[in-house]
């Protein structure tokens, strides 16, 4: 079995008594492309916030055998855990290349920080190629198209050498073609990393997910392949309301193949 995997045990996040993530157990192996879905407020984003250290949590969140909880955000990032944010979040006033450079150089010592570095490091060039932004290297990130910003975010995770990538709605606001490209990009990346994607886009989920976890009110409701999850009556109930539903109804919300 691979050493790199994310294992959440009894993970709980509460804000002033409101339990946003409620005793979640979750295991994602290397090579997986796991989609986290669920209605609004299910705790999907809070869950990846907790793993990346942005909100305090109890329980355990192990990656590569080390507990992440209680560590500082930048320490977790340097352990190979990368995440993107819901709205495309890049350093708007820095160029594409500079954005990638920041992500690539987080571990540098104070001394090298003062030296002007010449040339583009191979890892940065490679990441830029992978996400298809090579021609826009010197463009300020603030004026990139929405989809390109999302790709830049993914590129920043690649140069960080992130082995666990957590993406918060990576295809929100993208055109069909951009989604398609993003999906293939994620497939390629997930071959040798662990990828967790929070997504509302069911078509995108069906096309590219290797496995799915459904969260509801902070708890894991269902887990399995796309087909298994879609067929789960509990999932249908959460998305469609209580009562029995026809296959057609379920298909409209959860997609074909129910």
């Amino acid at each position: 079995m691979n050493a790199d995997y994310l294992e959440l045990t009894d993970l709980t996040v509460s804000f002033d008594g409101f339990v946003a993530v409620d005793h979640v157990d979750l295991t994602v192996l290397q090579g997986d492309l796991r989609f986290l879905i669920g209605p609004n407020g299910a705790g999907k984003t809070t869950l990846i916030d907790a793993v990346s250290g942005l909100v305090p949590a109890t329980g355990r969140a192990e990656f590569g055998g080390q507990d992440l909880l209680g560590r500082k955000v930048h320490r977790i990032a340097r352990m190979g855990v990368g995440r993107t944010f819901q709205t495309a979040t890049v350093f708007e006033e820095l160029s594409v290349l500079q954005n990638l450079d920041i992500a690539a150089g987080s571990g540098r010592s104070a001394w090298t920080l003062l030296r002007r570095r010449r040339g583009v490091p191979p890892s940065v060039a490679e990441a830029m190629e992978t996400v298809g932004l090579t021609e826009l290297a010197d463009t300020p990130a603030g004026i990139l198209a929405h989809g390109q910003k999302q790709w830049l975010e993914i590129g920043m995770l690649l140069v960080q050498d992130a082995r666990l990538l957590m993406l918060d709605e990576p295809v929100a606001g993208m055109s069909g073609e951009e989604k398609e490209q993003t999906g293939h990009l994620l497939r390629r990346i997930s071959a040798d990393t662990t990828v967790v994607v929070v997504e509302h886009d069911m078509d995108f989920m069906r096309a590219f997910a290797k496995s799915v976890t459904v969260l509801h009110a902070g708890k894991v409701l269902s887990e399995g392949s796309v087909a298994q999850v879609q067929a789960d009556p509990l999932v249908q109930e959460v998305y469609l309301g209580p009562g029995s539903h026809t296959a057609e109804e379920a298909a409209i919300v959860l997609g074909e193949g129910v």
Binding site: S52, G53, L54, K72, V73, H74, A77, R78, G82, R83, F85, T87, A88, T89, V90, F91, E92, E93, L94, Q98, D101, I102, A103, G105, S106, G107, R108, A110, T112, L113, L114, R115, R116, R117, G142, I143, H146, M156, Q160
Partner: protein, 294 residues
Amino acid sequence: MDVLVTQVFNGLSGGSILLLAALGLALTFGQMGVINMAHGEFIMAGAYTAFVMQQVLGAAGLSLLVSLPMAFLVGGLLGVLLEATLLRRMYHRPLDTLLVTWGVSLILQQLARDVFGTAGVDVPAPGWLSGPVEVLGFSFPRSRLFILALAIAAVVALSLALRLTPLGRRIRATVQNRQLAESSGISTRRTDVLTFFIGSGLAGVAGVVLTLMGSISSNLGTSYIVDAFLVVIVGGIGQIKGAVIAAFVLGTVQSWVEYSTTASIAKVILLALVVAFLQARPQGIFQVRTRSLA
């Protein structure tokens, strides 16, 4: 013509002093958003560093050149001390920060009075900075030219550092988006401390320069802190180039108004102009514009 040249030069000269006093603040207040009322006392500390250096080294020329890096270090260390002990506990609490740093400023002033006495002390300028330079029949004081050159050098050095070095990128990244910076593996704590060190160090350098303008005393900082804040606010928060333009504009306006009225009336008119300007452009000269969705 005579008056014109003299007034333009006075404006540039006044502007360069304002700029040096405000440049560090453009970093700590403009970039980090910390209201540091003790910034003026860091200037004072820089000035007294120059005084002590001259007492120790004797030679005015050598001591001035040694004082510049020393004052940067003294100001910077004071800043780091303040940041590490007090300010780090009160980020996002601007009112508390204002009061606390004002208290620190009073303490530092009293400390200076206890150590150096209440009377002002003089730091004689070296020979190569006294007297005027004649250019095309006009004479310009050498010390003023030196200050102008130093101010320009400081701005160029700071903006190159922010633009070209990885440390500068890290500072800009932390300013633009703290969460993303952390998630990218940047220690924002360390970046904050370094930013504060540089900003406060620049105040120290400004202090050295002010010794060329006259005698120095414990209230040196109080006479510059308000002007420094004005420069940063008029320039636009977080914009070094805004601070540069604002400093020279304010310096020029002040010198012209002072020429036709008195120093205190000039101050009143200047403040009125700033208030009017901020009514029209609350964000200052430059505004940060992006296509950010957030």
